[in-house]
Each structure stands twice: as C-alpha cells, then as structure tokens.
Symmetry: D3
Amino acid sequence: MIQRFDKLQTALPPPSEPDPAGAAIVQELLGGKFGEMSTFMNYTYQSFNFRSRQKARPFYDLVASIAGEEFGHIELVSTAINTMLTGAADGEAGRAEQLKAVRTSLNPQQFIAGGAGTLVQDSNGKPWNGDYVFSSGDLIEDLTHNFFLETGARNNKLKVYEAVDHPAARALTGYLLVRGGVHQVAYARALERLTGVDLMKRFPSPRIPTDKIPECQPHIEKGLHRTLYRFSPDDYREVTAVFNGPHPETGEDLVVAEEPMPEGAPPFDLPAQEAVFAPGADVEEIAQIAARLRDAAGLPKEPTGVVAQDNGGIIGKVKDAVT
Amino acid sequence: MIQRFDKLQTALPPPSEPDPAGAAIVQELLGGKFGEMSTFMNYTYQSFNFRSRQKARPFYDLVASIAGEEFGHIELVSTAINTMLTGAADGEAGRAEQLKAVRTSLNPQQFIAGGAGTLVQDSNGKPWNGDYVFSSGDLIEDLTHNFFLETGARNNKLKVYEAVDHPAARALTGYLLVRGGVHQVAYARALERLTGVDLMKRFPSPRIPTDKIPECQPHIEKGLHRTLYRFSPDDYREVTAVFNGPHPETGEDLVVAEEPMPEGAPPFDLPAQEAVFAPGADVEEIAQIAARLRDAAGLPKEPTGVVAQDNGGIIGKVKDAVT
Amino acid sequence: MIQRFDKLQTALPPPSEPDPAGAAIVQELLGGKFGEMSTFMNYTYQSFNFRSRQKARPFYDLVASIAGEEFGHIELVSTAINTMLTGAADGEAGRAEQLKAVRTSLNPQQFIAGGAGTLVQDSNGKPWNGDYVFSSGDLIEDLTHNFFLETGARNNKLKVYEAVDHPAARALTGYLLVRGGVHQVAYARALERLTGVDLMKRFPSPRIPTDKIPECQPHIEKGLHRTLYRFSPDDYREVTAVFNGPHPETGEDLVVAEEPMPEGAPPFDLPAQEAVFAPGADVEEIAQIAARLRDAAGLPKEPTGVVAQDNGGIIGKVKDAVT
Amino acid sequence: MIQRFDKLQTALPPPSEPDPAGAAIVQELLGGKFGEMSTFMNYTYQSFNFRSRQKARPFYDLVASIAGEEFGHIELVSTAINTMLTGAADGEAGRAEQLKAVRTSLNPQQFIAGGAGTLVQDSNGKPWNGDYVFSSGDLIEDLTHNFFLETGARNNKLKVYEAVDHPAARALTGYLLVRGGVHQVAYARALERLTGVDLMKRFPSPRIPTDKIPECQPHIEKGLHRTLYRFSPDDYREVTAVFNGPHPETGEDLVVAEEPMPEGAPPFDLPAQEAVFAPGADVEEIAQIAARLRDAAGLPKEPTGVVAQDNGGIIGKVKDAVT
Amino acid sequence: MIQRFDKLQTALPPPSEPDPAGAAIVQELLGGKFGEMSTFMNYTYQSFNFRSRQKARPFYDLVASIAGEEFGHIELVSTAINTMLTGAADGEAGRAEQLKAVRTSLNPQQFIAGGAGTLVQDSNGKPWNGDYVFSSGDLIEDLTHNFFLETGARNNKLKVYEAVDHPAARALTGYLLVRGGVHQVAYARALERLTGVDLMKRFPSPRIPTDKIPECQPHIEKGLHRTLYRFSPDDYREVTAVFNGPHPETGEDLVVAEEPMPEGAPPFDLPAQEAVFAPGADVEEIAQIAARLRDAAGLPKEPTGVVAQDNGGIIGKVKDAVT
Amino acid sequence: MIQRFDKLQTALPPPSEPDPAGAAIVQELLGGKFGEMSTFMNYTYQSFNFRSRQKARPFYDLVASIAGEEFGHIELVSTAINTMLTGAADGEAGRAEQLKAVRTSLNPQQFIAGGAGTLVQDSNGKPWNGDYVFSSGDLIEDLTHNFFLETGARNNKLKVYEAVDHPAARALTGYLLVRGGVHQVAYARALERLTGVDLMKRFPSPRIPTDKIPECQPHIEKGLHRTLYRFSPDDYREVTAVFNGPHPETGEDLVVAEEPMPEGAPPFDLPAQEAVFAPGADVEEIAQIAARLRDAAGLPKEPTGVVAQDNGGIIGKVKDAVT
C-alpha cells in the first residue's frame, strides 16, 4: 500500500514561454524505455515478485524503497511537461484558429488526446509498455538490469538537458540527474555486496561528472547525491545494510536519511487551457459547483490544498503575453 | 510523492496447489485494458495533469486519492498470481525436465521472462501500454471515462471469478469487486454533482448484486463497500464534498474514513522457485550474504520485515506435495 | 456511403457442440494479416484514395465493388466464431465455476473482453492493425498487392479448413474459398489488362483445386466461382470491362451479375450467454424493456427482424446438453 | 451485407493550397482511438456479436444502423485528407527534388507508404488497431462505451477544428460534429431507456454548443442534428422505438428519416500525383488501357461514374500554382 | 558485407517425434527480448553505428565479429524449431482433419502463417521488434548492455533447457549455452579493459556451472567455451587485444581461433509438410521443374548442395509413425 | 553461418552538411515494411525454413544467396544515415544548448536512444517487427511475396530519392535501385520458371526506367543491373539454373558472377559526436586504452582496419563549419 503526499520532490519553476517541441522531447524521460515509468514500474514489480524476501531482506528493502521514490519522478516529469505546455492552448474553446500550436508540435496528441498535458509515451509518440519491465526473479540479474537501466536513464537525461532549454526542463533534469545518480550507486553497491565486483570504478557513467552541471549543484550541496530515502514511515529499514560506504565520486559516506522522504515543494496550480477544455470549456462553471459542494460539506471557502505561490505573477503575465 | 507500507490491503491465502493456467487468466486483472494497471495509471496521470485544481479541489482530491488505493490493487493482483504460480517451478536449477509447467501454461513468459512471477501483460500475453491512459484534461470527460473503466473492470473481475477456482483468485476477486464497486460509485456521484444526471440508477453494473458473491460478503460486513479512504496522511480531505449521500444499492451513507487507509495484512513470504532462479539458483548463498550485511550494519539477526505466519505449514506441505 | 442488409451472404449452420479452441484459430481469418479485415480495409481505402479515377474507372469500379463484398465476409467469419462459442459460456451469471471454458481456450479474451464473441484479433490474439492496409496509390502495385493478399488468404483458409472440424468452420471456409477465388481471379485479370502478363497460369494457387473441397462444391454448382457482384444498386458498372474472359480453371466465362448481390440467408439468433453477461446477466429484463418500447412506438408485438428458423431445435438441445 | 453508393454524405470543397501538416493532424479523426475507424468498427462488431437480438431488437437495430452511417465517415475523413495532400506531390516522377513536402510533413508515410493519401493511422503515425473495438456483449456496457466513445470523438473533432484551417478540414469537422452529435444523443437515449438515467443533462459534452460553430449551422438548418438514418433499404426499422423524444439542446423532436440515407454529393476526382506514382508514373498510359477496355465491353466513351464538377477550375489553378 | 556458408555451427539431430508445444516455447530463444535475433541485431547495428572506430579498433572488432557468429545462432534456433515441427503437418493437402496439431499448439501461426516453420516471434507469439536493439553509440554503455543481454539470454536458455525435452531442443540449448557463455565473458572482459572493474567474479551467471549440463560437455571438451572466432576471413584481428587472459570459471587461457569459424555440420534436409503446402501442395511438381532447369544449366543430376545423411532413416520412420 | 567483410558494397560520400530531417526519412529504407531489414530477414528466414531443399535446390540457392546480399544493404543504409547525422551532435558533452538538432528532427530518438545513429525503425519512428517476415513455406507463394516486396521497395527508394537531397542519400538510393532491380528480376524469373507466367512484362515497376536516374548510371555501366552474386565462397551455385535469360529492360543476358561478391569499398571512419557520447564523452580516453591493449597484444601501432581516406579533409571541414 501507499499513501500520497500532495507535494513534488523538488520545486519546479512556474510556466513561462510555452515550448511544445521541448515538451515532446521531455516525454522520453517519462515514457521512454529508460524513462521514469520504467524505473518506477521495474522496481515496483520486482518488489512484488520478490521471493524468499525474508532471507534477502536488505536487498528487498532497497528495491522496494527506491520504487517509492520513482513515483515522485513520474510526478516531476509530468509537471515539467505540463508547465512547458501551459500557454500553448490558451485560446477560446470552440473557435477556429485557436489551437495552432498543434501544427508545430512533434506530438499532436499532447493536445488532441491530452489537454495540453503529459501522455504515457516517449519522444517518438510511442506508448510505454509493460514489456519494458524486467522482473526475472533472479536477484543478481534484476540488480544488473537496474544498474544498466539507471545508466541508460542518466544518458537520456544528459541529452535532454543538452537539447531543451526551457527552465522547467533544466530544473527537472538537474534534479533527476542527482537522484538517478544515487540509485545508480545503490544498485552498483548491492551488486558489489552480492558478487564482490568493484563497480564503483564505473562512475560517473556516462563519463560526465554530475557536479559539472550547474543545475545539479544546489542539490549536491544539500547532500542529495549521497542520501537514500526509505519513502516509508517505518518499513525498509534494512537498506542501511546495503547502502553504505564511500560515494564513488566524492568519497563521502553514503547515508540513509532518518526522515522517510525529502521535504518537497508544492506544485504550481497550472492554469486552465480552455482551447483544449482543460479542465473544461468553461472553468468557472466547475468552480461554482465545487464551491457549493465544499460549502455543503462544511469545508472552508478557500481550498484546503496547498499550491505554490506565484508571487511575481509570472503565470498571469504569460497568459497576457500569449493572448 | 508517496510512502509505501509493506502490507497488502487484505489478506490472501498462502500458496496451495499451483495453477499456471489460472494465473495466466488473472493477468487480465493486472495488465488488461480494464486491469488494475489501467485504473492506477489513469487516475495517477489525471491527477498529475489536473489544471486549475484549486477551483475544482474536491474533484482533484477524489481522483488523486483513488489513485493511491489502486497501487494497492496492482500489489494484490501480483501477489495472487505469484501465489498461484508457487510450486510450479520448484525443481532443481539447471536440470532437464524440471520445468514442465511451462508447456501447459497459457503464458510461457511467466516462467521464462519472469521467475514464476507476474508480468505486466494481459491474459493474452499482450503488454499493458500507456495508451490505455485516458487523460483528456476535461474533467467531465475524464470522470465519464473513469466510470466506464470501473464498469469494465467489474465486468472482467466477475468473469475471472467465475472462471478461476484457485483460492487466491477467489479471495482476490472477492475483495476487488467490493473496492472497485466503491470507485464506480465515487465516479458516478462525481458526475452527478457536475451534471445533475442520476447515475445511481446504473447500479449494479453489470447487473449482478455484489452481495450475491460469497467472497464479497466479509468485506461488505465491514462496510468496505461504502467507505472511501484518502490514502494520504493529511491531503485530499475535500473528497468528503463529493463522496457522500446514500449508497445506490444499500441506501446506507457513503463515508470517508478518518484513517488514511485500511489496516491491511502482511503478505506471505513466497518460497524460492529454484528452477527459475528466483531469487537465485542457490537461495542459501544469498541468505548468508544478507545475514553478514545485516550483522555488519548492526541490525538484529531476524529480519525486521513482517510477513504472514503460515501456522498450518501449508507452504511447506505444498512444497512436499509437488516434489 | 453504404446501406446494410440484415442478412448473411450464405447460410451457416446453427450452434452445435461449442469449440473454443477452434474459434480461436478461426480468428486468423478475421483479424490475421491475410484475414477478411485486411481484404475489406485494403480495398476500401484503395477506393477512397484512388486518384484520377475517371481515367481509370473500370479499375476503380473493380476495387470499390470487391470492397463491398468483403464487408459480408467479416460478417460471416464473426458469425461462425460466435456460433462456435455458443454454449461455452452458458452458466449462471456471478457464480463461481461457471466459466471454465476460458481455461482451455487459446484466447481467453474471447470470453473476458468479449461476450463469447469475436475479437478483432488473429489466432495468436494479436489485434489487426491499420498498417496491414497497403494503399500506395500506384494502381499496378496496389493490384499486385491484392493478388498476393488473396493468395495468402486462400492459403490460410485452406489450412483452417484442414485444422478445424466444427460445422460452422467448414461451412465458412467452403464458402470463402469460392468467393476469395473469384477475387483472386479478378485482380489477376486486372493486372493482365494493365501489363499483358498472363497470370491465369497461376491458378489454382496454392495448387489445390477448389472443387476438390466438398464444402465448396454446392457454391461452384451455383456458379459462384465465376460471378462477380457489384454490391451496389447502380454504381460500379464498369467492372465488366475488366472482369471477363475465361475462368482459369474451368474455362467458363466470367460474369458480372445483374443483381447487385447474392440473395443471402438470415442469421440464427444466437442465444444469450449469461455467464458472460451477453446481452446481460438477465436477458428477460432487457426483453421486457424492448417490448414496452416497441409497443409505445406502435411496432408489432413480434420483432420485425428476420432470423433463421432453427426448426429442429438444435440451439435448444445444445443448451440442454451443456447445462 | 452492404451495398455501396459512390457518393459522399456531404459535399467537400475541391483541393486548394496543399497542407501536409494539417493532413497529418486530421489522421486522428480517422485512425485515432476516437476516430471514425473506431466508431465504424465498434458498432459493426457489436452488431455482429449481438446475442438474443430478437428480444432486444430496437437496440440491435440502433447499433447496426449507426454502424452503416460510420462507413460514410471514414470515407469523408479520407477524402478530406486526400484533398489536403493534393498538390504536394505533383512533381515529375523519378526526378530528384520533386517531393520535398515529405520533409516538412509530420507523417512522411503519407507520401512514402501512401500516394499522397490517407493511412489507417492516427496523428502520431500509430496504426489503428483492433483492440480499440469494445464489444463485451453486455448491452448496457456496450452502450455506455459508445456514449463515451462519441463524447471523446466530439472532443477530438472540436480540437481539430480549432487547429486546422484548411477548407476541407473545416467542412469535414463541421459536418462530423453535427452527425456525431446525433449518435451521442442516440446512445444516451438508449441508455435512458434501459436504465432510467437522465443522460440528456449531459449535453453538450464537451460543453460547447454545436450551433456556435459556423460550419455546423447549414447542417443544423437542414435538421441533420436531430435526424437518424437507417442506412438500410428495409431493415432496422425498430430504431424508432429508441430514437425519439426531445433533442437535449433544442427540444425539437428526434426523428428517424423515411429515406434510408441522406442524398449526399459526388466527390471530386482528385488529380494524379505523379511524384508518388498515383495512380501511376504515367497516368495517360492507364487512361488509354481503360479506354480500350471500356470500348471492348461496349461501355460509353465517357466514364459512367459521377464526380463533382469543378466549374471554377480550382483544381487546375492549384496545379498551376504549385508547379 | 557477408558471405554465407550452407552449414550449421553444430550438428542437430534429425526429426523425431514432433513437439509443437515445445517448438512454440523455443521461439523465445529466437524472437524473445533475449533471443538470438536480439544478440544478432544488437551487435550488428552497434558495429554499423560505431563512431571513431579506428581509435577504438579492438572493441569495434570484438562487437563486429561476435555479430558474425550470431547469424549462425538464429540459423540454429530456426533449424531446431523446424525439426521439432516436422511430422506435425504431414497430412494430405486440402483435406479436412489433416492439420489437427494446430489445435494443441501454443502458437497456431507456426502452421497458419508458417509452413510448420519458425516465426520471428517469442514464446507468447509476439513479434521481435527493432526497439530491442540498444545502440547508444556510447561504447561503455553498449558493452554494459551486451553483458546484461548475454546474461539474460543465458537465463532463458537454461529455462528452455529445463522445460523442453525434445532432442533438438536439448542439443540446441547445450550448444548455445557454451557459445553464449563465451560472449558473456568477452563483453565482461572488454568492460574490465575499459573501466578496471573485475567482472570475472560475476561468473557463472545465473549461478549454474555450464559443465553441470550434460549436453554442454562435448562442446567444452573441444574448448568451445574459451574460443572466440572472428567470423571473417581477414578482418577483426584486433579482438586478440581484448579477448585474452584466464577464463573466469576454468582458469584456462581465452583464445582467438586462427580459423575464421568452426567447421560446422550440414543440416538435414527437412521433409515436405504437404498439409501446410511446404514447399508446395505437390512437391514432385517442383522437383521436376528444378530437375529440368538444372539440366538446362548444365548442372549435375544430383543437387550440389550438401545435407546431412540420415543413415538410420529416422526421418522416414517418423513419417511412417505419424501417418 | 556467415563471414563478414569490413567493407561496404559501394562507396558512399563522406559527411558533409548534416541533415537530421533527411536521415529520419531514410529510416524508411532501413526499418520500413519495405525496407532492407524486411528484404534481409524475409529471405534469410525463407532459406532457414525451406523444406525439401534438395528437390528444389536452384530456388533454395536463389533465396539464400540474395539474403546474403541484403546484409550489405542494411549496412549501406545505416552508413548513409550515420553520415547524414554526422555534425549534428558535435557539441561539448554535458553542456546545455549543445544538442539543438533534436528539436528539429522528425525522430528525436536518433539522438536520444542512438548516438546520432541509425535506429531499427521506419520514417514514422515505428520499430521494424518480425511479422514483416513472410515465410509460408509455399515456394510459389514466398516468391510471389518477394516479387511484391521488391516492387514496394523500389517504389519507396524512388520516393526517398525524390525527397532527400543529401549526397549520401542520393548515392545510396542510386545504388540500391540498381541492386533491388536485380532481385526484382530474379524473383520474377523464378516465378516464370515455376508457373510459366511471363512476368518480364512487368518491368520497370514502378514504371520509371532505372537508367533515367543519374545516380544509377555508373552502376549500370558496370553491369550491376544484370549481375547476381552468390555471396558465398562455394555454395549456392545452382542459382545459375534460375537466373538466366535476357534482362527485361535491356535484353542483355543475366549473369551470375564468378566472384562471390562485388569488390566493395571501405567506409569512412565517422567522427565522434561527443554531445551524444559516441563513442564516449571523451574519445581520447578510449583511444589511449585501445592503444595500450593493442600494444600489449603485439599489434602494430596503427589500427589494422581499413577505412576510406578523406583526402580532401571534408570531415574535418564539416567539423569546423558546424562548430
């Protein structure tokens, strides 16, 4: 079972200039073979399918807890894509010539199937599929896969970082490179423990030091490059038996955080895109119904959910600019 | 973000007679178009992609919190499949004629790609794919989809219940029919709130009363047919504004539980299946390494994870019986 | 545009012993690469995409009219599959152990996704897809494809005939072999007209004379092996400019029928399969609603649709036998 | 069985400026999950698979007759796409630099696999597939699906209307919005009859009044928004028992037309695109062969097929303009 | 470029009892994600896509030459499957009840699409696809992939060995386990050279010593477990710079063979299966044409190709036995 | 078995201006339904699956030897694509704004999954799949397929020739048109021999004379349009019994070359693309390791592999130009 927290693992910037072509490329980090759907689902099913887990508990705990973090990564990538698409479908519902962004996008379905929103597809518009999950049940082999998967994921994140300039994409890849690096180390260390192979010599892989990337540095300064979270209030405590020793690049100690997860940050409340009817062709109608229901249920007038404050009003300005 | 709890939403029986053909059919409830991967991923991405969520907060909270429950459902279905496959790959690793179950299975990849384990596929061996996710951004349309999806899911669960006799499959479908029914009601009620259409006349759909199913009754007795959980420690409290009023079949009040989630039950620690190298061709080697690591990390001798106690020794007996 | 006629191109037998394994194999003739979906859709889209059709009218008319016949073929294959599945899901809705046929089927989704019904898949459970349509716009090339497609289709029909004994499958393949043979000749003749190549030497292909098959003979006796229908009340009359000359096997004249289509035969009204809720878990409830609506609309008490009379009561007997 | 009529359901404009990017987007309305292939094939297979149809005749007749109309819709979308591509491949066959449009298209296969023609794909170039067909056999569930499908289809048509300005796309979406709206109402009404749920409150869905769209108005003026055709000379007369009562938006009576289908309009004879060899690298060679065959068969010199007259000579002017 | 040699890498037994279910499972070793199509195509495209190959020549030569061997592996797996299917389609062409084996097969298309022959599919009937090719261009990453791929391939071969008893399957897996093991070592050694990681500690992986398998022993005795062939008359000589040092399991020296490839063995000339028209419904007609053409071309009366001699007449006996 | 030769069948030009959009289109000739993967794999599997090959030896030899040539064609197309992508990813590894070419490509995965390299996909980014292989076992039918496949391949090559101007694409299509034409003739002739049908009337098909294409002429002058190679040192000599008689367009004799294969040409050593880490983020590190290994193995200082000399320094100039 899980419990959700209505927060992102890290703050992302508010919408600015829309970038549909970039948003189509970032899809690779969501639904590509090496995207976050793959990391999330691989570790999740490996944990479900783990046999004789009591005897191998530290390894089970490792895989199961990293799975927990990966949910937050599909959430982050989706948020970045949605941020990049905001403003591209901001026209009047039901009027001709209001949705021209579709014509220049690499992925028209982000607008036609989605509501200027994330799809579970890669950068070529091909849907993620369940055969991307490798869950052989053989622990050494599953871990070998996971190390390879994280390495491919790091490769893809670096390339997207180089290719897409939108602030949301930069912030996203900066964060994911750091966290993905932790998982890469974790699986390498687990393999070392099981087989004796000194995989720490493999870092960094690809051979680009993470701290070379400016967008990674704030996270490294907080120690996020060497910290594993359990993403569980009380379970998975045996990860400490695997995730320890020196970090392969910095030599600092690897640590398992006391707290279950990072503090995180609230997401921005991305504005309606009425030309794609998200959340409707007339958002005020929905708002009024919601207000009535809230009132009837004895809830306060203001929504209880917390979202990021766009103090500088960037969201509003973008809306002005594009209309 | 999420946090995981190392427990199932409901107890499932321990392994008994293996049933590979049944396990291949139950895959439909995991990776089929109307399986739990679809419910989990649809609501998850709809929550990620939800625009103007502050104005529509009660609906956002509803979708987001049901997504949280669905993770537990992919966990349950996987556990049932793994339970049904236990004992079918129990032979000696690397010896001929030890894995004959593959020949009679409807899905050889459960043994060849998996380790007598769950795949992210349907009952025809076709992988689940991301285009099963409908996330148009249009709230009314997404909810219409969700009601339709839950109805199709209920249809499929009923048929699997009729078709597969293994105790794990029966316990699984009994529970999922009750919980899926709650979600079906929830989305119907949400649509009523938004459009005024009296969807409660649609229940039960398909037209088979849930309480006719013996395996559903214990859960109904606990009120699980009319209770929604938030699956969050503090968020998603505005579901109360939507999920209320009488249950369409019993007339009882729909309620949102105070506690974030059901108490749940620990899973059985499913035994190794060495003919498929799960968790290895020699599980004791892994056990010894784990013990050493645990010791070095100052962890207690006994694993800290909690699993179900197989007091009657059924797992052992099955192992005897099949060897 | 089209108009439908509620009749089959030829009579098929009523349900008898159910044969799920056979029904899964017959799917190849529906949704396989060389199945009737392929013939129907290829000729349909080739007709839609036909450029400069006035200059090439006889060829346009040929392709367009054969497309018309192929609709009747997807209808026939579906009817045969449904007939073969009748009786396999005849248990009580919502009760355990009522749907065991799924376990022995090669295609569980015929019962779980379908209602003991046809799917748009092949014999391996793979869905038909739009890239099976070849529509290059190059007339000679499209016709070459069509001749190849019909040859592959004849190959597949012969094999299914050899493999599946159910009376509905035998009747189906007997008819389709004759009609597919006509289309094979038609495309060969069209290519002869355009290129001068003597393709009549290619018949029969595969090298099995159609009249060797007992189930083909009644149709050959009626001349159906050398007759093309226009499947249009008034259009496509220029097929006569292409479809003429001697039949390659019998030497008889090829003819274009005066009447638009064969007389056909009404289908049997296949009985409900309540274990799969088709057309519902309780068919009488639907019947009563329909009766009321019919009455309110001033329609006669008896349904106006015509279905085949099962005078010998075979459908009922089968139902008795399987329950 | 069907009979074809060599006419479109409504007139579409002749080719003008070619628009390959737009044509790639319009593919969503043909081969997308909510495209016309889906509506056509869903209702067609539901009618084939309909069990106990005599007892449920009005519902059978409804599904079967709407299927008949949908054939005309795949025909219309294809014609629009082909119209939009006309002029983009108008160069000399076999010469370099004659087919540069491919480079700027979102779907190169429209030119490489097709002959500047329609493919059975969606706007991302993914082929339509048979698993888009939902045919559970459960009448209420199939109708729920159909209502959902029509709602999604309306959503997609509206977005394509907003995104693509080519006159053929505008005319197409204007017509389809009106006719799709009728089917949406028809399935909603059928569900009302079976379950008592007042679905008329759901209109319009998405929440954009159809009469707001200028391109819809001429069709609304003819009453096409409230008229169902049987698309059969004599069958499916019991639709009147379901399709009646007030239209949800206008309050006017829903009516079943006496005549089987609309009058329709002949298509334009789209000119050859020789750079893609459609209908050949040298169309005059084909024309001469056709003329000889026609002559030998005693057919008149002029083709007997009827096509739209391009009195203003727009097709020719476009050809001049693009060369 | 390549040149072909009409020989197998190792001898396989002649047909004996047909085993369609086993043949369907062996497909995993051909078209599965870890099958020989994947090894062949991965290394082939990695060699095509290898940039700056002069600077990295020993690694280029390694990948390119192993690709050469893998062609022989798809050939071997296909031959084994075809051998296992021989006798299952041995009936009279065009007669009912001659092809019943299709009904009990797990993959009906081996008979319907194929001629009792190999398909490019896996054990679930899913076609191999080009996205199984990983060719990132990053040498370390590609080699990491290749080591992982070979490990997964070894896992799958071991399971198929355990599951399928047919003599052809046993001989096949015995040989492939030895040769795949060489490639696994080769990629591990290459990674050691590039990164310094001691991967030899990973062997055997999965943890089953190859020499435990009786069918592997003859090949180990010939030294095939430690010998790499260049599969080129003169190129790829720099593999010696990478493939050297001790074998991780036996400590013997790894060697690069002087001769380009193993001696190999001629295949059996698998007999016609006339019920599936392979190579035709009447093989003697083809034989006579071939004889005439051979004669006209001045070729000897006996075919010049070399095939294995079935001295004991097993092929004939099987034919007798199954008819 | 095969042996590889590290040479291309014909010389291709060195890299010049990069052309990602063109490279995405050329993918159709690699991984499209009618691309070289299809020709290579179809003939390869048809040869593996060929039953009773001694009786039909000349036909077996024909199919098997053409398969051998097709390997060289996937090599050529890949080389052309890689050449066209060279220079598009030439920036500094790990720095923002270094990989902007991805944004304008039609296939972002050429950069993200590949290293500015070929993928096994078509021009829409859809992976090649094994169901493109037709291997029915029926000789006449397989040859019919092959003639159709080569005709479709010629169609696609002509269109790509018209659409893409890059020198590598022009050189590629010029060569492939000539060689594909030989295979088209070969299969047509084989069908003539088996059935008596005069297929030579079908040439050219599509109806564009090959010698009209300037890039084809040098190859025609060498006689490559009428010469078949065996692609085997000693086998497949019976092709002479089928491939003979006059060429359908020129009337010259068809000949089987004495030498096994054409002389060929070395490929250019395409330079590193460091922004995509091909062959690494720092190619000199790899070069040094390779040099050490070469030295330790007693190999000469200079790499032993032969690559084309870029005397004019075009590769270097391009690198200058794009940086």
